[in-house]
């Protein structure tokens, strides 16, 4: 049992079987988090390093806790993006971590492809925790786990992903993962925030949010970066929230029990109203819990956990 690929850089080329294995494993490991003593010995003696070139609190903490719950030794390396210009190259940092006998490196980087570069030059296994606008595979996995737990399946679900698609690695990873799992994905956002030629990848793009949300099983809102407005990609926050914000009225167009999701951190009152974010349909906090479970599963499957791991879990 385990994942054969050395690294997890994205979901674009990950098979349905692999995704199912990760989700099943996460589902069973999640229980550890409810225990009184949240620790199993599965990854004792394994070293996991988080290497973050971009500020992040939740993803990094999620990975670190996942590692600690499984008894891996976790360590973190923060690198200010500014030092990239003068400082050590990514390849050298990778070699250094290899030399310290690291088993798994979790990397977040503002430059798309940075995890691929690291993976190519390192012996350790590499997990992408988000690179530029490219991919954020663990986010999509935790989103799929949440959908599966609530709706029983992924295949056939209509999932509307709404917001800044162009600059979103969450949207891309979800698009690939959900499509592989047989969901019907609709991407929605202002025309200036839809990347070029996405339809060539088979994506369905809808500019009108009402239309995108109609009959959806899942409405996934993306965080809008306020600096995009300053770059002239949309006219104002006011207009954005009127046309691409999720409120009660819009949500009523979706299926009655539709899930509301958001990768966080939220801009309350901009892409999502507070009443919706805190409503019974919202599974936003559960996404965070499932994030730890999915990361435990990946560390287990990629960390070469001992064979009785599932028993001890």
């Amino acid at each position: 049992m385990g994942i054969k690929r050395k690294d997890l850089l994205g979901l674009q080329n990950v098979t349905k079987q692999e995704i199912e294995l990760i989700l099943q494993t996460a589902d069973s490991l999640k229980e550890i988090m409810n225990r009184d003593i949240k620790k199993v010995p599965t990854l004792r003696g394994r070293t996991v390093v988080t290497l973050f070139y971009e500020p992040s609190t939740r993803t990094r903490t999620s990975f670190e806790l996942a590692g600690k719950f499984m008894s891996a030794d976790t360590s973190s390396l923060s690198v200010a993006t500014s030092s990239v210009v003068k400082g050590e190259t990514l390849i050298d940092t990778g070699k250094t971590l290899d030399a310290m006998a690291t088993d798994i490196v979790i990397i977040r980087h503002s430059a798309a492809g940075a995890p691929a570069l690291l993976a190519k030059t390192m012996k350790a296994r590499v997990i992408n925790a988000g690179d530029g606008y490219h991919e954020h595979p663990t986010q999509a996995l935790l989103d799929m786990l949440t959908m599966k737990q609530h709706l029983g399946k992924i295949e056939g679900l209509k999932v509307a992903i709404v917001g800044d698609i162009a600059h979103s690695r969450v949207a891309r990873s979800n698009f690939w993962g959900l499509t592989t799992m047989g969901a019907d994905v609709v991407l929605c956002g202002p025309p200036t925030l839809i990347p070029r030629d996405l339809t060539k990848a088979g994506a369905k793009i809808v500019l009108n949010m009402d239309e995108a949300v109609k009959d959806a099983d899942v409405v996934m809102m993306l965080r809008v970066q306020l600096e995009r407005q300053q770059k002239g990609l949309f006219p104002s926050i006011r207009e954005y929230s009127q046309f691409y914000g999720l409120n009660k009225e819009r949500l009523s167009l979706a299926k009655a029990n539709a899930l509301v999701m958001h990768p966080g951190p939220m801009n309350r009152g901009i892409e999502i109203t507070s009443d919706i974010a805190d409503s019974v349909q919202s599974v936003i906090e559960e996404q965070v819990t499932n994030g730890v479970a999915v990361r435990m599963a990946l560390l287990y499957l990629m960390g070469g956990g001992v064979s009785d791991a599932s028993a001890s879990a």
Partner: protein, 426 residues
């Protein structure tokens, strides 16, 4: 006096528009006789070129020799050696050096260095504006007197259309071509690759074809209005090719060059984030590549130029966003063209050779030397059937940044004769 006899040459000479079999006798640096069955004297060196193509020396009108200023990337010595190995006997050296070639002393420096260190001829191109800043035009009269053959701010566009207008107008004084690097920096928006399907799935910021098209349209309008000689550097989009085609029909003085990577590679190569595919203008999508090939075939594109841009390993062995733009391409230019254009697209050989000879010469307004007795003996010799894999480790260039590494090409330059001397080949 040294004598060199080339036996059994299959001569392809676009200058004379002739293809024929003959021997060539070279005495010192000049072609003495072109005739069949020439007999060597006692001191004549004889080379049998049976099965090889002999053409007038190739010109690459877009080369970054990096000297002065970036000698860690390339020097005139290594760059001209690389050029000779690529089959070239002349190169135009771009002026984006440190300092820029914008005064006669700098032009003089290039010429002196070329004489002392160079393997082949180096023709200096001078900057359109002082310091390549796009603000004040440089001294074209003095620069031409010093030996500049063209004007370009290559690497950067002249953003201000008023400055470009005055540059074009003033260039009429010297009748030198303005080589324009057409890129609207606002539209290019700091992108790293062609904007399209692959930039979307790779999550890299895209450079739309518009960034080129808009500037080509502007410069053609300026050329029409001023009557200046405009040359579009490294043309890469279907839109700009169409603009040039239409402009030529209208009689506007515009020419264009394309680089091998823009007809032999697509943006699909960027998958995997190999930074050797990072170049400006970027590798384009299929439909643009098709348009470039078509324009080379129909003559809309006058010249094939490598845009040879060597970089250090340190410039390239980084994240894609941080890597330098550029391909060290002078040693693969002719092989890529022979493989893709001659073998695959069935371009007539004489036309293909013209894109390396009479085409670039006419861009520069040079009196082009075809193969005739009395002419300087600059010759490029090709083996159309040789099949070889590109190996950057065998490059003479300091720059090993070439995305063709590992690719097999059919047809290679095998010998270069410059001023009667075999500088590359047996």
């Amino acid at each position: 006096m040294p004598q060199l006899l080339l036996k059994n040459c299959q001569i392809v000479d676009p200058a004379a528009k002739k293809e024929y079999f003959s021997d060539i006798l070279i005495i010192e640096n000049k072609i003495r006789t072109i005739a069949r069955d020439l007999q060597p004297g006692p001191d004549t060196k004889v080379i049998d070129l049976q099965g090889k193509i002999v053409a007038p020396g190739f010109i690459d009108i877009h080369v970054h020799l990096r000297e002065p200023g970036d000698e860690d990337k390339e020097t005139i010595a290594t760059g001209t050696m690389a050029a000779a190995r690529g089959g070239f006997t002349s190169v135009v050296a771009m002026p984006n050096t440190k300092p820029a070639i914008d005064n006669e002393a700098a032009v003089e420096y290039i010429k002196c260095k070329a004489l002392s260190d160079g393997i082949i001829e180096v023709l200096p191109c001078a900057a359109i504006t002082k310091g390549r800043k796009g603000e004040e035009i440089s001294e074209y009269g003095i620069l031409k007197k010093a030996g500049a053959v063209a004007l370009s701010d290559d690497g950067d566009p002249v953003a201000n259309p008023e400055v470009m207008r005055r540059a074009m107008e003033y260039s009429l004084l010297v009748n030198l071509p303005i080589i324009s690097h057409c890129e609207d920096k606002n539209l290019a928006g700091g992108g790293a690759m062609h904007e399209g399907y692959y930039s979307t799935i790779l999550g890299l910021k895209g450079i739309p074809c518009l960034a080129e098209d808009v500037q080509v349209a502007r410069d053609i309008a300026l050329a029409e209005y001023t009557g200046a000689k405009l040359h579009i550097a490294h043309i890469s989009t279907a839109g700009s090719v169409e603009l040039v085609r239409t402009a030529k029909k209208k009689g506007i003085r515009v020419t264009a060059e394309a680089a091998p990577h823009h007809f032999a590679l697509t943006d699909a190569e960027v998958v995997g984030y190999n930074t050797n595919t990072k170049v400006n203008p970027p590798l384009r999508s299929e439909e643009h590549v098709k348009a470039i090939i078509e324009a080379i075939l129909d003559g809309t594109i006058d010249a094939i130029a490598s845009d040879h841009a060597p970089h250090t390993v340190e410039n390239k062995n980084v994240e894609y966003d941080y890597a330098s733009f550029g391909i060290s391409g002078i040693e693969t230019s002719v092989a890529a063209a022979l493989d893709v254009l001659y073998h695959q697209k069935k371009m007539p050989l004489i036309d293909l050779i013209s894109r390396y000879t009479t085409g670039p010469a006419s861009v520069l307004g040079l009196d082009y030397q075809g193969l005739e007795p009395g002419r300087t003996a600059n010759l490029t010799i090709l083996d159309l059937e040789q099949i070889k894999r590109v190996d950057v480790n065998s490059f003479a260039s300091k720059g090993k940044n070439n995305p063709f590494h590992g690719r097999e090409f059919k047809g290679w330059p095998v010998m270069t004769i410059y001023q009667g001397k075999v500088v590359v080949g047996n």
